[in-house]
């Protein structure tokens, strides 16, 4: 769910625990259904985007903005709660596990129609899941579906998933495969599905219908009159693609864009004096870190890594680089998640102690040139990051200066995103600045497990057998209290080993024209309740 450069990352939601709706049997389509929210119907919202989408179906889209948009066109079986700990009914009214937890049955709403008028049924679900699992499609998160062996439509509105394992995230995984219309894609040979025009002209069941897409210009959606919770208040949502940040901020100011969901801290600061814009700051799912290659002779000593962390003034970085719009982090599990342990001992900013630890490890200024060395080798290395992420580049520049103060010479090296990913996953680096976006699962194995060193995302080659063992138990632990304890110990061990220097989570910063109402932005997604957003009728512009 992440590897994307943070520039393309999304946001999250805390505390906004409005229960969206609980099984209220929605009206039949065709009848006059009141809007889902309390806002008056009508109006248009123009949302700025800094890059075009790649595809608009959940099967093929990979950029985060494209996912945000396809999330409005398509609906899943269940909806992730803002705290990312549970699910609310959505296309499915309810669900239940069999006694052995190997079967999960969804009971679907009977009032859902595809945007072209065809009823949505269990057949669509049973048709879709194998697509997400197929190698011809190579869906990015296909690993999540690895334990689903069979999906059967029991009747038109009941669908059953069979699993070959029992683990805490069965519901999450079953929910990954957003249903696709069988009546459109059912007869298409699977080899042709990835390039089928459907992905650029999607038909879904979500609150908004696709209208048109002018590449590199705009994507327009309109209200789905037949939406199963009632027509969304907004008539129209237009996503306007403007790749230049300066240009985006200019248009926010001039009112040509109503909403931009990924403001940078400087731009956010700069927009504070525009009264017409509501400024919102919400904890995000993204964290930044410095990764030290544990296999490198510089960083294979835990005390050296701790010393490096002590040399870095994270408070100053948060305060000055991101204008305080973030929070220092000490563990790999973000604070809004149930498994987060708030009492993990932090490594303090203490350059003096850092120097002491380093000299204990043999790194001292033996030759008197002002820089640390050991057995004639100077402490000098490169730190890599991707060039299209300005914040990461800024961090590297600041860290360079901080390390220079304790006598360590670091050379920044920025590269294109694809090259960066190829090199970091290939462990071809000494240090790097990178970021992860927290998915809805609590699962640290793909980043921290010894087995993930070779073929997954343990890029820093972190290996701690105790952590491996605890994680192996935690990922299959159904009891959340027990799992919390296991994850807590994992976090403490990882933090103490300092394979990463955890930096901070940057809050998601939004500016939205204040004529829009009922806008609830959450850590999980800023589109969380877009089907309830509305415009103040007196101030409607278009």
């Amino acid at each position: 769910m992440f590897l994307h450069s943070l520039r393309r990352q999304l946001p999250l939601a805390l505390g906004a625990s409005l229960i969206l709706f609980a099984g209220c049997g929605g009206e039949k389509s065709g009848t006059e259904s009141p809007p889902a929210g309390h806002g008056a119907a009508g109006g248009t919202m123009i949302i700025g985007m800094d890059a075009d989408a790649d595809a608009l179906s959940p099967l093929m889209s990979s950029s985060s903005f494209a996912n945000d948009i396809s999330g409005q066109i398509f609906a899943g079986l269940a909806k992730t709660n803002p705290d990312m700990a549970g699910y609310s009914p959505w296309l499915a009214e309810s669900w239940e596990f069999s006694n052995d937890r190997k079967e999960l049955t969804f009971f679907l709403r009977k009032d859902v129609y595809w945007h072209d008028g065809v009823p949505f049924t269990a057949e669509d679900v049973a048709f879709s899941v194998p697509l997400y699992q197929s190698p011809e499609i190579a869906y990015g998160s296909m690993r999540w579906l690895q334990h689903i062996t069979e999906v059967t439509a029991v009747d038109s509105y009941t669908v059953r998933f069979r699993f070959d394992a029992v683990y805490p995230y069965q519901l999450t995984d079953a929910n990954v495969a957003t249903p696709l219309p069988k009546h459109i894609l059912g007869d298409v040979p699977i080899a042709e599905i990835p390039t089928h025009p459907f992905h650029r002209n999607p038909v879904g069941t979500g609150p908004f219908k696709f209208v048109n897409w002018e590449p590199q210009q705009s994507i327009e959606l309109e209200a789905n009159e037949e939406f199963f919770l009632g027509r969304p208040p907004l008539d129209r949502v237009v996503f306007k693609i403007v790749p230049s940040q300066t240009n985006l901020v200019t248009q926010l100011r001039t009112g040509d864009i109503d909403f931009y969901p990924k403001l940078r801290p400087e731009a956010y600061e700069e927009l504070q004096d525009v009264d017409r814009l509501r400024k919102l700051q919400i904890p995000s799912r993204v964290y930044y870190y410095l990764g030290w290659q544990n296999a490198s002779p510089f960083f294979n000593d835990r005390n050296v890594r701790r010393a490096l962390t002590m040399a870095i003034d994270r408070e100053s970085i948060v305060k000055n680089l991101v204008k305080g719009r973030g929070e220092i982090l000490d563990t790999p599990i973000l604070p809004f998640l149930w498994a987060h342990d708030p009492d993990v001992p932090a490594i303090p900013y203490d350059p003096e102690r850092a120097k002491k630890l380093l000299s204990e490890a043999g790194w001292a200024d033996h030759d008197g040139d002002g820089w640390l060395d050991r057995n004639g080798t100077p402490f000098e290395f490169t730190m890599k990051t991707n060039e299209n992420n300005d914040l990461r580049k800024d961090i590297v520049v600041v860290v360079q200066e901080m390390l220079a103060k304790i006598g360590i010479r670091m050379h920044p090296e920025t590269m294109e995103f694809t090259v960066f990913i190829a090199q970091t996953t290939g462990k071809d680096f000494e240090a790097m600045c990178h970021g992860w976006k927290q998915g809805s699962k609590v699962d640290l194995t793909s980043i921290w497990h010894t087995q993930s060193i070779n073929d997954r995302f343990n890029m820093v080659s972190y290996s701690n057998s105790r952590v491996d063992e605890l994680m192996d138990r935690a990922v299959t632990e159904i009891d959340r209290d027990k799992a919390t304890k296991l994850w807590s110990e994992v976090q403490r061990l990882i933090a103490a080993d300092a394979a990463y220097t955890f930096l901070f989570t940057l809050d998601d910063l939004y500016a939205i024209d204040d004529r829009f109402q009922n806008v609830e932005l959450t850590t999980y997604s800023w589109t969380y309740n877009m089907h309830e957003w509305s415009v103040d009728p007196k101030r409607r512009k278009y």
Partner: protein, 336 residues
């Protein structure tokens, strides 16, 4: 003449072949893997392997190359990795937009450049001449993206006179405009990018126009015309101007590649959906089929541009024939 043209055209085929070969191996030799863009930390390496297989990247490089050539021979550019649709669809959308922007810039460039150049030539030595000359150099020395940013800051942000992005208003507003309204809307949207693209080069054209005009005004036939007592206006516009215009035509061919390259940055800043943006995105995403198609296409435009310039030149000045030695890019040495 027609035979020479045909030969020139045929001569471009090996050139295009060479370019495509070069680009193909250059692109594939570059580090970075298109499959990695679609991965997440939940992904197995298997996913990348599947993707590589689906993209045909797991075959030997020479095989990929021949497959690509074979498809190209049928006019098929393949499917974009990133956008999952035929490359030809992408180009069909982007190329007309780039041509529109380049075309408007070209007109602006020559009309403005020649106007300014002739004006300062007629007023040679006056303050007007000095100021335009210095200004020409000033604009000519400006990085185009910096100029673009300054224009944006001034006309969109401070004055809010002109729209800062897109080709036209969002379709739900644009569609409701009258025909004239649509035209006005489009003109408003193209103004800033076209200015950013043409101002710097306009200054260059103005320099040439001024020099050419000065030279022409000193030539015998102009003096003769003056001696005959023709009005100054006739002398300048009918005699000197026509002659000064000649060499300007070759500039046309020279500036076409520039307009395409320069468009890359201007298109990004002003959100113009043209080929430059497609090309840059494709390079960064290692979307090989799109990279190949855009390079070949822009090479074609460049070659075509210089051909057009040569033909125009020989048409305008019959003393000079289209060079028959197939110097394709046609920007060759001084014809003396």
């Amino acid at each position: 003449m027609r035979g020479v043209l045909l030969r020139r055209l045929l001569g471009t085929i090996p050139l295009l072949f060479g370019i495509s070969t070069l680009v193909f191996f250059l692109a594939h030799a570059a580090p970075g893997d298109p499959a990695l863009l679609f991965l997440s930390d939940d992904s197995d390496p298997v996913v990348a392997a599947h993707l590589r297989h689906n993209f045909g990247l797991d075959r030997p490089l020479h095989e990929q190359y021949f497959r690509w050539l074979a498809r190209l021979a049928h006019g098929d550019f393949g499917h974009s990795f990133a956008q999952k649709r035929p490359v030809s669809d992408i180009l069909m959308e982007a190329v007309p937009n780039t041509l529109l922007l380049s075309g408007v810039s070209l007109v602006l460039l020559f009309a403005g450049g020649i106007g300014v150049g002739v004006l300062s030539a007629i007023r040679k030595g006056t303050w007007l001449d000095r100021i335009t000359t210095l200004l020409s150099f000033f604009f000519y020395s400006m990085p185009s993206f910096w100029l673009a940013l300054m224009l944006l800051l001034l006309f969109s942000y401070h004055f809010d006179w002109l729209p800062a992005s897109q080709m036209h208003s969002l379709s739900f507003q644009y569609e409701s405009l009258s025909w004239w309204g649509k035209l006005g809307d489009r003109i408003a949207h193209i103004t800033l990018p076209a200015l950013a693209l043409s101002l710097g080069t306009l200054a260059g054209v103005a320099r040439y126009a001024r020099a050419g005009m000065l030279e022409a005004m000193q030539q015998d036939f102009v003096r003769t015309a003056r001696a005959k007592g023709l009005p100054e206006r006739t002398v300048i516009w009918k005699h000197a101007f026509r002659n000064a215009l000649l060499p300007m035509i070759t500039l046309l061919g020279l500036y076409i590649p520039f307009l395409i390259s320069g468009a890359v940055i201007v298109e990004t800043i002003f959100a113009w959906p043209g080929m430059g943006r497609v090309a840059i995105a494709a390079i960064f995403q290692r979307d090989y089929p799109v990279v190949m198609a855009t390079t070949i296409l822009s090479a074609c435009l460049v070659v075509l541009g210089s051909l057009v310039a040569d033909v125009l030149y020989s048409w305008a000045d019959p003393r000079i024939r289209v060079p028959s030695d197939s110097r394709v890019a046609g920007t060759g040495g001084t014809p003396r």
